[in-house]
Amino acid sequence: MGYTVNALTKSLNVFHLGGSACNNCDIEILDALTPRYDLERFGITLVGSIRHADLILLSGIFNKKARLRMLEVLAQAPRPYLVVAIGGCPASGLIFRDSYNFYAAPADYVPIDAFIPGCPPKPEAIISGVVTVIKALREGAMVPKCLGEPDRAGEMAPVPQAEGAA
């Protein structure tokens, strides 16, 4: 476990999975990756494909239709990976919770490793959250959830034609 965690945390490829958000978190995530904060110093780079992802940043509530796509994308991530929720939406739904298209807060049906609160969190908060996750992993205080529950993401992947394909 020590070797795996060390190898993983020294070189994190970030994949940004944003769904039905108000876009403020997405802007802050992009800000965190600009030269000003220079996350490449710690081996953190942004990637475009879920197959290359080590750290998946969720933002937004993922409404009824986007939720199915998100679960499908998440099921394609190679293990071990980490899921970090950005902002308050994935935890509670915040201002979207009474919307007609709100299904449930992603925290209720996605194995999320860590939450970074804020509406939106500043880039410093995002970096501090990721550092906290890395430290907890290295100290053995936490295990990536995708390893603890091997098939959870796969089980939850819905049948696409049932309700999503319409």
Partner: protein, 307 residues
């Protein structure tokens, strides 16, 4: 020459291990220079090694319905190609007497293998974006292979030999034809490495990784390693062809000149990558079949006339 020695040369020096380590360090140079252009600190020296180690602990995802065997085999095709190319090249640089006739032709073919491997893997993955990237890669290959062959012809005409061991004695870069050919060769190298402005097979923005989109874990690591090794080997190839005489002369000074020439080629590539936007495929084809081919053709004619 017994078989054990050949095997060791292939595995350790100057084959697999040496090229891999040098390639990863070159990719660090690439990332560090990029960081300096963008006025930031950049990754630590060992970051490419950390990245590679990370890829080998990740799960290998195989897309459903794709050609599984080819999908997993494709990264190794390019990897084997670039390792062999580097081996042949370094043997010619270290010991010009032991090369065989026509090794230059073998080398040009071997340096094509990584691109072929990428294309095969992309089509085997059954992903529409990867197929798009693969077709772009093929068009790019058609575009740059013609001027590249013309570029390689210039040192051949000057040395009147297709043996790498005899080519590396000359210094074509000091002649008019050689300088022009080197310029065209630089453009071809940029495209062969598929880095900006010729990164349309990957196209981070619209193909999100393109040819590599379905790869994860160790196969992706092998691809990244192959690219790093190409980033090291192609400048060495150009140095051997155009600055060879500077490099293999007696004493330490020629080696340092060779190292300097290599570093300038790498740095130029990286600076071009950081200061240009991506071209469309048709623009790239026009660029290579137009100006670059004409430049290379002019160099060939000049070389024929003895300049």
């Amino acid at each position: 020459m017994n078989s054990t020695r050949v095997f060791l040369e292939f595995l350790l020096f100057p084959g697999l291990l040496f090229t891999a380590a040098a390639g990863l360090l070159t990719s660090w140079v690439d990332r560090k220079v990029t960081a300096m252009v963008q006025m930031r600190v950049g990754p630590p020296l060992l970051q490419p090694f950390y990245d590679l180690r990370k890829y080998f602990i990740k799960e290998t995802c195989v897309p459903e319905g794709g050609a599984t065997g080819l999908f997993l085999l494709a990264p190794l095709i390019g990897f084997a190609g670039v390792t062999l190319a580097s081996l042949i090249l370094w043997r010619a640089l270290l010991n010009p007497q032991v090369t065989f006739v026509g090794d230059l032709i073998v080398l040009v073919y071997l340096l094509m293998m990584p691109a072929l491997g990428v294309v095969l893997g992309a089509f085997a993955s059954r992903n529409p974006l990867a197929s798009m990237g693969g077709s772009r890669e093929i068009q790019l290959m058609i575009a740059y292979e013609l001027p590249l062959v013309l570029v390689v012809l210039v040192p051949v005409i000057q040395a009147e030999s297709i043996r790498l061991g005899e080519l590396v004695n000359g210094t074509p870069a000091a002649t008019w034809s050689g300088a022009l050919a080197l310029l065209a060769g630089l453009a071809c190298m940029q495209a062969k490495l598929t880095i900006v402005p010729f990164d349309m097979p990957e196209a981070e923005t619209e193909l999100t990784g393109g040819v590599f989109i379905e790869y994860s874990g160790p196969p992706l690591g092998v691809y990244k390693l192959t690219r790093a090794m190409m980033l090291f080997t192609l400048p060495v190839f150009l140095v051997a062809l155009f600055f060879g005489g500077f490099v293999i002369g007696p004493g330490l000074a020629p080696k340092l000149w060779g190292l300097l020439a290599w570093f300038v080629l790498v740095a130029l590539t990286v600076v071009i990558r950081n200061t240009t936007p991506r071209l469309r495929t048709d623009q790239a084809v026009k660029f290579f079949w137009g100006p670059v081919s004409l430049l290379a053709l002019a160099a060939v004619v000049l070389a024929w006339m003895g300049y």
